[in-house]
């Protein structure tokens, strides 16, 4: 039996955690000599105030949805995939290769081809740690971290040599203009909604939302999802029930890697339209926080990703507007992660007790 109603678990607890994080952040901002209320306003209006700003928020959120889903899918099989960073980077390589060397006639085909390449590359990068875990028992946390570090020199080597564009910068040439994904303003424009065309949000957002639905169906509405969850809850029980652990580990990790790789649809194909160094920029790690905060449920991940998008974009505006160092913004972001992720029980326990005591009273 649940200790507290569903709404308290999914809404009240995160909201209170956020509030606590906001209060502490406010104290930090006051300590460096700024008005916390004004700073909060700046952050909110910076993230949501204009459609250009909102477009940046959505762009970051799209990245986090992909990496958050990647962590969640693996997590349902009790695999802690912290290799999203490397998988997304290698996925970017796949997308870049597909977009550079195949002359797609139309962006829709490029989206399918490039997206598939990104997913396959990302999955392949997750496959080796998955195999090592399934067959050799090498811990997935260690191996996926190692694969993050291995992805950097691989892409760096390629960007400095074989696929480098002319000039100073270690980056691939830009993709052909005709395969650029439509940005959000073009998509919303067809529905008669005015939206700034200066932001980076693009068609990948649609794919991310579809991925949310897809993951929900996969985990809660398919046999494979059932097996994955059963395996995640108890490996020995799952084995007894005839579920093949190797198969579940491999499939969950391959899907996880593919989702992380598909982040490239957003940052490589949608935004930069080329592959640059360090293209993932930590989104793979933010995905862990997003999945934790979203309770590994697609809807929760969607909301958490949006929140992190707001923190990223609002934080940038905050540091530009108040001329505070960007490290201060990182502190605020870290506080939110700390309270919503790591210190979750601090808020949860008292609320659980509160609900239990309320219930006892009702029972009397």
């Amino acid at each position: 039996m649940n200790k507290m109603p569903n709404w308290a678990d999914t809404i009240l607890v995160p909201l209170l955690s956020l509030l606590l994080a906001a209060v502490i952040s406010g104290v930090v901002i006051a300590l460096i000599g700024h008005n916390p209320i004004y700073a909060l306003k700046l952050m909110v209006s910076g993230a949501l105030g204009t459609s250009t700003n909102f477009s940046y928020t959505l762009y970051y959120a799209t990245n986090f949805i992909f990496t958050g889903l990647a962590v969640a899918v693996a997590y349902h099989a009790r695999m802690f995939n912290i290799g999203g960073e490397g998988q997304a980077y290698i996925g970017g390589l796949g997308a870049a290769l597909a977009c550079l060397y195949i002359p797609w006639p139309h962006w829709t085909l490029a989206l399918i081809g490039g997206g598939l390449a990104a997913a396959i590359f990302g999955a392949a990068w997750a496959a080796i740690p998955a195999y090592l875990q399934a067959k050799r028992g090498s811990h997935i946390v260690i191996t996926t971290i190692m694969f993050n570090y291995m992805s950097y020199p691989v892409v760096n080597y390629l960007l400095n040599g074989p696929i480098k564009a002319e000039g100073m910068e270690p980056a691939t040439p830009s993709f052909a203009a005709e395969i650029a994904l439509p940005n959000l303003s073009a998509i919303l424009g067809t529905f008669g909604i005015a939206f700034s065309d200066r932001g980076p949000a693009n068609f990948a957002l649609v794919i991310a939302l579809l991925a949310c639905v897809g993951v929900w169906i996969l985990i809660w509405r398919t046999k494979l999802g059932y097996e994955t969850r059963a395996f995640g809850e108890s490996e020995s029980a799952a084995k007894y029930a005839g579920i093949n652990p190797t198969k579940i580990i491999m499939i969950a990790m391959l899907i996880s890697g593919a989702l992380a790789g598909m982040m490239a649809i957003n940052n490589v194909m949608g935004e930069a339209e080329r592959l640059v160094l360090n293209a993932v920029e930590g989104a793979g790690f933010i995905g862990i926080a997003v999945a934790l905060m979203g309770r590994n449920h697609p809807l929760g991940i969607l909301i958490a990703a949006l929140l992190f998008g707001i923190l990223y974009q609002g934080g940038a505006e905050l540091s530009a507007e108040l001329r505070i160092p960007r490290e201060m913004v990182t502190v605020i972001q870290a506080l939110v992660i700390l309270f919503t992720g790591a210190l979750d029980n601090m808020v949860r326990m008292p609320i659980e007790k509160l609900f239990l005591s309320l219930r006892r009273k009702e029972a009397k």
């Binding site: 306003k41 209006s45 105030g49 204009t50 950097y152 100073m168 005015a194 160094l277 360090n278 940038a316």
Partner: protein
């Protein structure tokens, strides 16, 4: 009127517009941040120097993501800052887009070329400055083995290494030049521990002068060289003071001058291509009270002669980035 536009209209009213600064200059730093003890910090130094001398104010911003580049330039452009200076080759593509949108504003980009009527592109002849310190290294070396430790393995750093090797070999054709890169990620710019390990490795191979072109990693190189009693060479800023008697010299890349000049020119900033080389003091080697005893009169004469010859075009130093090969060094 859709729900969306209403929503944005309402929240936009909340947004506080920043006071538009009448033609104040602005500077945008690259991902390394303005206190990287190297490239970005040199840019910051130049901007600060301008502010102190003129009493003017300038706007600044440190980006934390590649996606913020266009956003950052546009934000300053919309607020009317002029000129807008940015340091780093990664600004090329976003600046090309934004410069077109604001034809009345002036932009300056360091380490990259953007061909637009309102953009000044400042590039440095790092290979020339490195050539000079390479000569000094070979002259100071006792066993003819000199080392190079780069930061992240990118063409720009290979350009430093290639110029250095050419200078060393010009003095001593039998010299051995060891070259190592710290890493392949941006973390390589700030890894003094690994810099220290590479220094020890090069010393064990006989190097007795080591040139660090590695941002914050160089701090470890210089420290270890001082501990082990060999010479080191600093980069970008004058780092001679860090270990007097051990830092042989520093290869100066005057990013600060470039920013200072752009700020001083203000709205009159001249668009076009600005090469900062030996001939206009954009690069050079540092000579001050901390290394006066290390650089003999003969060494100085030889380097100054070479410097004049390069400036006059009599010696041509191969630029790695011109064809991505180095005739004297294998990477």
């Amino acid at each position: 009127m859709t729900l969306f536009t209403k929503f944005f209209g309402a929240t936009a009213a909340l947004a506080l517009t920043a006071g538009a600064a009448a033609a104040d200059p602005a500077i945008i730093f690259d991902l390394g941040g303005k206190f990287d003890k190297s490239f970005n910090e040199a840019a910051f130094t130049g901007a600060t120097k301008w502010a102190e001398e003129t009493g003017g104010t300038f706007a600044e911003f440190e980006i934390s993501s590649d996606a913020q580049r266009e956003q950052a330039i546009r934000r300053f452009a919309e607020e009317g800052y002029n000129p807008i200076v940015m340091a780093g080759f990664s600004w090329g593509t976003p600046l090309a887009t934004v410069a077109e949108e604001y034809p009345d504003l002036k932009f300056s980009i360091i380490d990259m070329v953007v061909d637009a009527p309102n953009v000044q592109s400042v590039v440095f002849n790092e290979h020339e400055g490195s050539y000079l310190v390479g000569m000094l290294a070979a002259m100071a070396s006792e066993d003819g083995t000199v080392g190079f430790i780069g930061g992240m393995d990118i063409p720009l750093i290979r350009k430093f290494a290639c110029g250095y090797a050419q200078g060393a070999l010009a003095v001593n054709p039998d010299a051995t030049v060891l070259a190592n890169m710290t890493g392949t990620t941006p973390a390589a710019w700030n890894d003094p521990v690994k810099g220290s390990e590479l220094t020890l490795a090069q010393i064990s191979q006989g190097a007795d002068v080591i040139y660090a072109a590695a941002g914050g990693t160089g701090v470890g190189v210089l420290q270890t060289a001082a501990d082990q009693g060999v010479y080191s060479i600093g980069v970008d800023s004058n780092q001679n003071y860090m270990h007097p008697g051990s830092v042989l010299t520093s290869m100066l890349k005057r990013v600060d001058t470039a920013v200072y000049d752009a700020f001083t020119a203000g709205t009159e900033l001249e668009a076009g291509f600005n090469v900062m080389g030996l001939d206009n003091g954009g690069v050079g080697y540092a000579l001050d009270e901390f290394n006066a005893e290390l650089i003999t009169a003969d060494m100085q004469a030889a380097v100054d002669a070479a410097s004049a010859a390069i400036a006059a075009g009599e010696i041509s130093v191969h630029d790695y980035m011109s064809d991505e090969t180095c005739p004297v060094l294998e990477f």
